[in-house]
Amino acid sequence: MGFLWALLMPCLVLGASLLVRALISRGGVDPASSGEALAGPALKAWAWAFVVGSLNFSTTSLLNNINLVSKIYFPREVLPLAAVGAQIVDSLVGLAFIICLAPLLGMHWTLNLLWLFPLIGLLVLLTSGLSLFLSAANVFYRDVKYLVQVAVTFGIFATPVLFGLDSLGPTARRLMWLNPLTPVLEGLRLVTSHGSNLAYTVAAPAGGAPYWTPWALLGSAVFGVIVLAGSERYFRAHSDRFAELA
């Protein structure tokens, strides 16, 4: 299928999210986001596919290249980061596709689209940090890869992929903000579907946790840096023993 693989996963996730929306809006629960432009959900699906692909491939990257790890020396970070890199290439194909379809998806062409760069940068940062940690952990504990599969399967419900925060109640929203991916995904949606400037808070009309706050984005960035630094430390400290255990 070649490069179509790069499109398949985001398309499936997008299809699922449209289905969920249709079902919810028929029930009349969520009038707010039913008429929303498709660009936001499409980018969310695209970002989620990137995260899932990266984590799946990087977690097993060290063990899958056992021949290299146990026979020759090179910085072992290359393997999980290359798995993320391969996903970046795939995702660029998907992004080009979305941009081509932007007029159909109702993209808001404003200067606020510049927010896409820090948002995507943060997405890569968070994913790389996790990938480094998970790939090293999977050498020592072989069941990590199963846990990752479980986590990404259920993670889709703990991350605003299939829905927007504005379709959730206040408690669910507050919990959702604890997820470091939430600001990235919501940011992508607000910027492309609504043309919002992410520097300003969007309060919820009914009160409670806001629909958007720039502080969450900052918190997520700090978290991303800490995860990457911590993972790199963990990786460094344990890379000596990869060849022995692998």
Binding site: N67, L68, S70, K71, I72, Y73, F140, Y141, D143, L147
Partner: protein
Amino acid sequence: MTDECRVRFDGVWKKFRKGSGYDSLRDLIPSLVKSTIRPKPSELGVNDFWALRDVSFEVGTGHALGIIGRNGAGKSTTLKILTKVLAPTLGHYSTKGRVGSLIEVAAGFHPDLTGRENVFLQAAILGLPKSKVESAFDAIVDFAGVEAFIDTPVKRYSSGMNARLGFSIAAHMDPDVLIIDEVLSVGDGAFQAKCIERMRAFKAAGVAIVFVSHNMQAISDLCDTAIHLDGEVICEGPAGEVIGAFLTSMEGSAQTATGNLASLSVEALALEDGSPARVVTPGQVLTQRLSFTTAEALADCSLSLVVIRSTDGLAVHDSSFQMNELGWDSLRPGITYHVTAKLAAHLLRGQYHFQWHLIHSPTNRWLAVLNPAAMFRVDEYRSYGGVVDLELAITGQAE
């Protein structure tokens, strides 16, 4: 060319774990409790063992070090530490310059990539610029002799092809240090010879070589010094001596072997003046006294001597002597027979040993075997290879 140290191994210890250990999160929790009483690096846990104990050596430019030892003696572990694949538990090591290596026969190939792609992958890992690899590419493929399959994934290669390509890459990366593990065990004769030749050329060009092999002849051909490793350094020194000592220790257990029907024993191999023969010059006369007894009366027995080059098992002499020539038509129990064997060692440089057989000729059965019955080294500095000293003499005149 200055003789600087390229490879240094300084008091290296390496600990491994026996058994499978815990390697799933399921087993993590019980192990966390145990890890609070984890031993210090210098101590052994219940399941730990030392694969290397205080191993030290140095290799300078233009020198070749051979590492020999039984299986599981830590040879590959040593090489893996040298190539940074493993980290030592204690101690230090260092290598200077670019290291070309071939560990455990199959080099670090990615099985799904083709031979061509793997050449470039290896070069990239060694930090060689692409232009340089491109210029050396034809030579690499040509040396390995895998032209026809260079665009086939290496997972479909035979183990010989794998080793050939691996060695060829390591040998064309312009290394300062060459670390080669057992490449000769899978290559065919022609390729082995090519490898040895190539390594000799490297040595002459000042490359430091660390070479592991079970082929003692190859080690003694190539290496100046050798170490016998068995977890720790058992013996080190000139390659010939270390090999001799190693082979003695390997075969020492067979020395007492006797049959049920007869027993055979020897005195030490001696020179004509009665002094023990350990190091011999070509043509020197060696004597050995034997005695044997039998458990029952046996007619038509013979005694045979095999002289074997220890490094490769080549039998350089094999002949038997009928007992009735001594007037002993039948050996009788209760009598000890003494014989003295005398021969001239027309042999060239190498390590040799004796094997004695007492044979019952009618049934062609070995009554007793003594192996090795004697070990000695022939020392001379005229020959480059070969086995037999044919006492070449050249006369000439100029007009």
